[in-house]
């Protein structure tokens, strides 16, 4: 279980996370919604230890991420997929996948390579094993990013706005893979702006607003009129994020210039 308890994170005078608490139990898909700057990505970065905490505690299966030794252990349990892919540009796609399993998990090279090739095949990239990240499209790079995370056999998949840098077509490619992972029971902490998709795959949705977690509800209750939608901030957010679900959007021609 990932347990976030009263986490505070400041950048200078700016408080990005202000006492956030949430849990992700095995098998759950927990989606974090919120506008840009609400602290969603920072929360993911706190869980994988890329940011240090200014207050509170985060543990992954009981391992405290503030302790360097426990963090090293915790990082073997979770794997992150990044918004801008963050692939290693000087390594082949295959090496991007096998590096951490070999070096960190000390798994045998042949076994890791076999798994990596199978993962690439499962996302339609079987022919790209020996390509370099610079030779791939954004959607392909993010599929590699997902495979790189899955090659760690993680208990928890941390997804940080993984489709924000992609066009709609590429977004669809990536979401299809994530949807499949969700139905297979992969545990995910999912930061996204894809509200409709989150609604389909999430067990719970939490809403962050200016660093504070204002709602943590099962998905159906989050979208219920007397549930999350009753909260004015969430209603405002959803009506802007997914106009089709609440009010019809104005055609482009009618929009004021």
């Amino acid at each position: 279980m990932i347990a976030v308890e009263g986490v505070v994170k400041r950048f200078g005078a700016h408080t990005v996370l202000d006492g956030v608490s949430l849990t992700v139990a095995p098998g759950e898909v927990v989606t974090i919604l919120g506008s840009s700057g609400s602290g969603k990505s920072t929360l993911i970065r706190c869980v994988n230890g890329l940011e240090t905490l200014d207050g509170g505690r985060i543990s992954v299966d009981g391992l405290d991420v503030a302790d360097p030794r426990q963090l090293a252990q915790a990082r073997r349990l979770s794997a992150t997929v990044f918004q801008l892919f963050n692939l290693y540009p000087h390594m082949t796609v295959l090496r991007n996948l096998t590096l951490a399993p070999e070096l960190v998990l000390k798994r045998p090279k042949a076994e890791v390579e076999g798994q990596a090739r199978a993962l690439l095949a499962s996302v339609g990239l079987a022919g790209k094993a020996n390509s370099y990240p610079g030779q791939l499209s954004g959607g392909q790079r993010q599929r590699v990013g997902i495979c790189r995370a899955l090659a760690m056999n993680p208990r928890y998949l941390l997804l940080d706005e993984v489709t924000s840098a992609l066009d709609p077509e590429m977004t669809a490619e990536v979401l299809a893979i994530l949807g499949r992972l969700a139905t297979q029971g992969t545990t995910m902490l999912f930061v996204t702006h894809e509200v409709e998709f989150a609604r389909r795959i999430s067990t719970r949705i939490v809403f962050l607003d200016q660093g504070r977690l204002i709602v943590d509800l099962p998905t159906d209750q989050f979208f219920a009129v007397d549930g999350g939608l009753a909260h004015p901030r969430i209603h405002q957010f959803l009506s802007k994020m997914a106009p089709s679900s609440t009010a019809p959007a104005a055609p482009v021609a009618e929009m004021p210039a």
């Binding site: 890329l50 090293a72 990082r75 794997a79 992150t80 990044f82 540009p89 960190v104």
Partner: protein
């Protein structure tokens, strides 16, 4: 009786001098490469005290003439420790430290040029600092640094000529000896110059080949 003409023995003298110059260059450049890169890694991980100390020392070395450093080591250090240094030892020490200073600044820039986001990915995936340097930072920093390093190597090869003034019989000193005997400075220094040129040109060609290999899949430089 003076032998003013060139003899076969002169060729051997020049070849020996060239060997000393090349040996001194290769040895001190490799030592400088290792020390300078190690110092850059220390700086990159912001090791307290040690990082600042190394930075100051290497800054001093980079910003003072090699000849002055050579005199300081060859004449100054023996006065301090009451123990003479051999010219070759003093030359090796000075050139290694001086090369390390220039390598340090090139390596620091190379390490800084590696994208922060991949470093974060590697850390999030649990790579240790040593693994990070070995697999992520090192190869990419090397690709960024190879062009300035080749330039530095060509320069340091030529800087070895300064050690002739403290009595090391390198290529320049061999030329000097030959010149004093034959009194044909134009011919002697043209030959010595051509030998330096040939060595430096070979170095550049090797460096360019190495660069092409390292940069084969690196992101393009600049904008």
């Amino acid at each position: 009786m003076r032998h003013a003409g060139f003899t076969w023995h002169d060729g051997a003298l020049l070849a020996q001098g060239l060997g000393v110059s090349l040996g001194l260059f290769v040895g001190t450049f490799l030592i400088g490469l290792v020390l300078g890169s190690a110092a850059a890694v220390v700086r990159h991980f912001r090791v307290p005290a040690l990082g600042a100390l190394l930075h100051t020392a290497l800054e001093l070395l980079r910003n003072s003439p090699v000849l002055v450093q050579l005199f300081l080591v060859f004449f100054g250090v023996p006065a301090l420790i009451h123990q003479p240094l051999t010219p070759v030892f003093a030359a090796g020490l000075t050139l290694s430290a001086n090369t390390a200073a220039f390598v340090y600044f090139i390596a620091v820039a190379g390490l800084d040029a590696v994208g922060r986001e991949q470093v974060e990915a590697a850390r999030a995936f649990g790579l240790s600092r040593a693994q990070l340097v070995r697999h992520i930072l090192g190869p990419q920093a090397a690709a960024f640094a190879v062009a300035p390093l080749v330039g530095l190597a060509v320069n340091q090869l030529q800087v070895t000529s300064l050690v002739s003034v403290i009595g090391v019989i390198d290529l320049t000193k061999a030329g000097d000896i030959l010149n004093l005997r034959t009194l044909r400075p134009f011919a002697v220094w043209a030959i010595v110059g051509a030998l330096y040129f040939a060595a430096a040109k070979t170095l550049t060609l090797l460096g360019n080949r190495w660069e092409r290999r390292l940069r084969a899949h690196a992101p393009p430089l600049g904008l």
